[in-house]
């Protein structure tokens, strides 16, 4: 019988930080990291840069063999968990091996969501979540002429830029009326969208794909719900993600959209924690349990889960997820932290010269900031939001110079 003190399912951000946190208080307990990946730990976030050739799978390891060894992690590659049996405190791997655990972390992340499009199963298409996906997409770009991308989120837009720069014709189809929904308001997203149009990318907003069928030998024809159609020879689905929870069927672990967790990342079942893209934890801004799907959140949750698993008495509960992102496109840079709007909030925007900034203030506290081509310390703003710092004494200065005043507040309020 295989057994271990800590069993970590997954090998990405949440998993890595959990191990680091465990090792802060428990240098000796056995740690086994079982993952679906064939490779050493890497982050899905680098994949767009693998596709564009900026980095390679070999360079872009998140943590290497030396780290695993230094942290005494037994690493089981290509060992996805197929079933969890909490009553026996054991899991069954896809290859049939059974592992007993004292504490289990589910950090299995997410995989691309496939929208309901008639004929999609039969039609070759790309997604982007693993190194294998990235290499396949990269190869396809080299031989393609016209790409259609479903989804104008970070993944879709990044791919659109890469493909355009590689000389392809590119069409982006987005169900919502704007790009990067949830991160940028209408005005900012129009600026971003325009940059893509200006580079010759077709941006079809407020439209969905209804059906797809093969055309010629390697092409396809996509029917749009609104009546139009697009032809192409490279189809990329970048329409969001869904958590990897199928192996939890029958386990008794409570699921909402993802694995429901409390502020210490504990699931409904004893000795089982969940963190990262797979988990559904509180949102900071409204306290609703929701999926977050971003890296900084996976890092925070992983740390908390690991600390709690190891019995670290100093563990600080999760304050809730805050939407955060940075996005570079065609020489521009956009950043977003927190809310875009809120009932009763004061909204201050400045635009001009290809720059944009939007501040959302409620009851004298920062709730959100988003900006294009402005230097903003995202992590610092995140703290201002989480700490609910009263900005009233400096509000006018802050609205005029959020970057500088943010730094002054930082120097005085935390070190």
């Amino acid at each position: 019988m295989n057994q271990t003190t800590y069993l970590i399912a997954g090998s990405s951000h949440a998993a890595i930080e959990a191990v680091a946190a465990i090792r802060m208080v428990d240098p000796e307990g056995e740690v086994v990291m079982a993952t679906a990946d064939q490779r050493l730990p890497y982050s899905p976030t680098i994949l767009p840069y693998v596709v564009s050739g900026r980095t390679s799978p070999e360079t872009a390891t998140l943590r290497g063999a030396a780290w695993l060894e230094a942290n005494r992690v037994r690493f089981l590659a290509a060992s996805p968990i197929a079933e969890v049996q909490p009553d026996q405190r054991q899991v069954r791997m896809a290859d049939g091996a059974v592992w007993r655990y004292e504490r289990l972390l589910l950090a299995t992340g997410a995989r691309p969501a496939l929208p309901p499009i008639a004929g999609l199963a039969a039609q070759p298409h790309h997604v982007l979540r693993t190194v294998e996906d990235a290499l396949a997409l990269q190869a396809a770009i080299a031989g393609a002429r016209q790409a259609v991308i479903l989804g104008a989120g970070l993944v879709g837009l990044h791919a659109a830029e890469t493909m355009r720069k590689a000389g392809l014709g590119v069409t982006v189809i987005e169900q919502k009326s704007q790009v990067l929904p949830g991160y940028f308001d209408g005005e900012a997203s129009r600026m971003i969208e325009k940059a893509f149009r200006d580079h010759g990318i077709e941006m079809v907003m407020g439209e969905t794909a209804a059906a797809v069928e093969a055309q010629d030998d390697k092409g396809f024809r996509l029917q749009l719900a609104g009546g139009g159609e697009r032809a192409g020879d490279l189809l990329l689905i970048a329409a969001g993600v869904r958590p990897v929870t199928d192996f939890l069927a029958g386990s008794g672990v409570d699921l909402g959209q993802g694995v429901l967790v409390d502020a210490r990342m504990r699931t409904s079942v004893p000795n089982v924690w969940a963190a990262g893209d797979v988990a559904q934890a509180d949102r900071f801004l409204d306290g609703v349990k929701a999926m977050a799907g971003i890296l900084p959140n996976a890092v925070e949750q992983g740390r908390i889960a690991g600390a709690d698993m190891a019995g670290d008495s100093a563990v600080k509960p999760f304050p809730g997820s805050v939407p955060l992102n940075t996005f570079a496109y065609f020489g521009n840079h956009a950043i977003s932290v927190g809310a875009l709007d809120e009932a009763g909030a004061v909204i201050e925007t400045h635009a001009g010269d290809g720059c944009y900034i939007r501040l959302v203030i409620a009851e004298g506290r920062l709730r959100g900031i988003s900006a294009i081509n402005h230097v903003v310390d995202a992590g610092l703003m995140w703290q201002l939001i989480l700490r609910r710092i009263d900005l009233a004494p400096v509000l006018q200065d802050f609205l005029a110079r959020p970057h500088e005043i943010g730094r002054v507040l930082m120097s005085r309020l935390w070190r």
Partner: protein, 452 residues
């Protein structure tokens, strides 16, 4: 022992906003044209703040980097960036809460402070002295590799900095030492030991409060006679120095006995229930200077013990605060050497969480504030060079910022605060008089006479 790291520190009281640090930083190859530290003017233009990489212990920029392009150096603690791995996603800026990362969005990369790999250019160029490179980390590492001459497990109160003091001091002074710990917290927390076992790995004894200096004198002389060069070290509280032990100490100083005498001044008899001593500061609540209708804490000013020792013309006299370890170490070195020739006296100001009423996590912070407000001044004296400030604070922050840290001052009336403010200013003025005299003598090449 784990690794400690050097840090770039910023004393905003000295910054004049000249911006030379940023100019020089921006020209460095690793900066790609943008300074990696920034001095910011406060909104009311009253002072300056600094944003710079803190080389965090658990750096969130590293955790948030998806490409493994950032890593913290195990030996020197510098968080380094590897350009070849960076993909330019700027998620590091999301991790950093200190404004320590400079994005170069157009180039899809970032830059951050690397302490110029041990010799920061910003510090070199800073004329005002606002930026300094604190090498205490290197000190910790050096001393950490020496044998800890104290038994593990002390029963000091949480947050008491005496343990820090004892362990570092003993490591530094080394095994050829005999320690005297008169009654007080240091003896009480386990230095003299339990059940027939001593708390130190060097000989330790427990003199009376009154005769510490005399007994140590005998020990030093005896060993000397036998041809052994043993450091005679006293770790005494302020009660055993300023009050009851004063007579024997004054005598030993007058005779020039070769002792290393360290006074750990927590302003009272803390281990017996927080009674006031001659060193208790004005206005302090103690169990014998309570706060009620008639009494409002201590009504007398404290004795200035280090100044009195200076007046004895000891071989070496210094004040210290454990918020400034590098300063303490430099002084300890000199004191150890001086104790081979005569009396070396170090007065360590030691905030007491239990007796002064502040959170045990805030000790070092209170040490810093004590110096930044000039409530405590750091200086040293030798008969040759006179008095010299080792960490002058020219623009102190208001002393109220220090007073408000402690429960023992909570009751202070505005008049009492005014009194403290005034005595703080007077004390510094008096010390400056000595420092100026020493400086003038140096310039006139008229070195003050050693001894009589």
């Amino acid at each position: 022992m784990g690794n400690a790291f050097n840090t770039i520190t910023f004393d905003k009281g000295r910054c004049d906003g000249c911006g030379d640090c940023m100019t020089v930083c921006a020209k460095l190859p690793g900066s790609a044209g943008r300074s990696r530290l920034s001095v910011i003017v406060a909104p009311d233009r009253s002072d300056f703040e600094l944003a710079i990489c803190r080389q965090c212990g658990q750096p969130k920029c590293v955790m948030n980097c998806p490409a493994g392009a950032l890593a913290k150096g195990e030996q020197d603690g510098i968080v380094r960036w590897e350009g070849a791995k960076c993909v330019g996603c700027l998620l590091c800026t999301v991790g950093c809460r200190y404004g320590g990362i400079v994005p170069h969005a157009e180039a899809r990369q970032m830059s951050k402070c690397d302490q110029c790999e041990g010799d920061p250019a910003c510090v070199t160029v800073c004329k005002s002295g606002a930026l300094s490179f604190n090498r205490a980390g290197a000190l910790y590492n050096r001393v950490g590799n020496l044998e800890d001459l104290f038994a593990p497990g002390l029963s000091a109160c949480q947050g008491c900095n005496s343990e820090l003091l004892i362990r570092h001091t003993l490591r530094h002074v080394g095994p050829e030492t005999v320690v005297a710990t008169p009654p007080g917290c240091i003896a009480g927390m386990g230095a003299v030991g339990y059940n027939g076992q001593t708390g130190t790995k060097v000989p330790v004894f427990h003199p009376l409060l009154t005769n510490t200096a005399s007994m140590l004198t005998g020990i030093r002389r005896t060993y000397k006679r036998r041809g052994r060069d043993v450091t005679a070290l006293a770790l005494a509280g302020d009660g055993g120095v300023v009050d009851v032990g004063f007579q024997s100490l004054s005598g030993a100083a007058e005779r020039g006995e070769e002792l290393l005498f360290i006074c750990v001044d927590n302003e009272g008899y803390m281990n017996t229930g927080m009674q006031r001593s001659g060193s208790t500061s004005y206005g302090s609540w103690t169990s014998t200077t309570p706060v009620g209708k008639r009494m409002h804490g201590k009504s007398r000013d404290s004795k200035d013990m280090p100044l009195m020792m200076m007046m004895h013309r000891c071989e070496y006299v210094a004040t210290a605060s454990l918020g400034f370890m590098d300063d303490y170490y430099a002084k300890l070195d000199k004191a150890i050497a001086a104790a081979k020739r005569g009396m070396a006296y170090i007065h360590v100001y030691a905030p007491c969480p239990t007796g002064w009423r502040f959170p045990s996590s805030a000790t070092i912070e209170t040490c810093r504030k004590s110096v930044e407000t000039n409530f405590v001044t750091l200086w040293e004296y030798t008969p040759d060079a006179g008095l010299r400030f080792t960490r002058p604070v020219d623009n102190p922050i208001p002393v109220e910022e220090y007073l408000r840290l402690f429960g023992k001052y909570r009751h202070l009336s505005p008049e009492q605060v005014t009194h403290i403010r005034q005595t703080t200013v007077d004390k510094v003025k008096h010390l400056k008089m000595h420092a100026r005299a020493a400086e003038e003598a140096r310039q006139a090449n008229d070195v003050p006479l050693k001894g009589e």
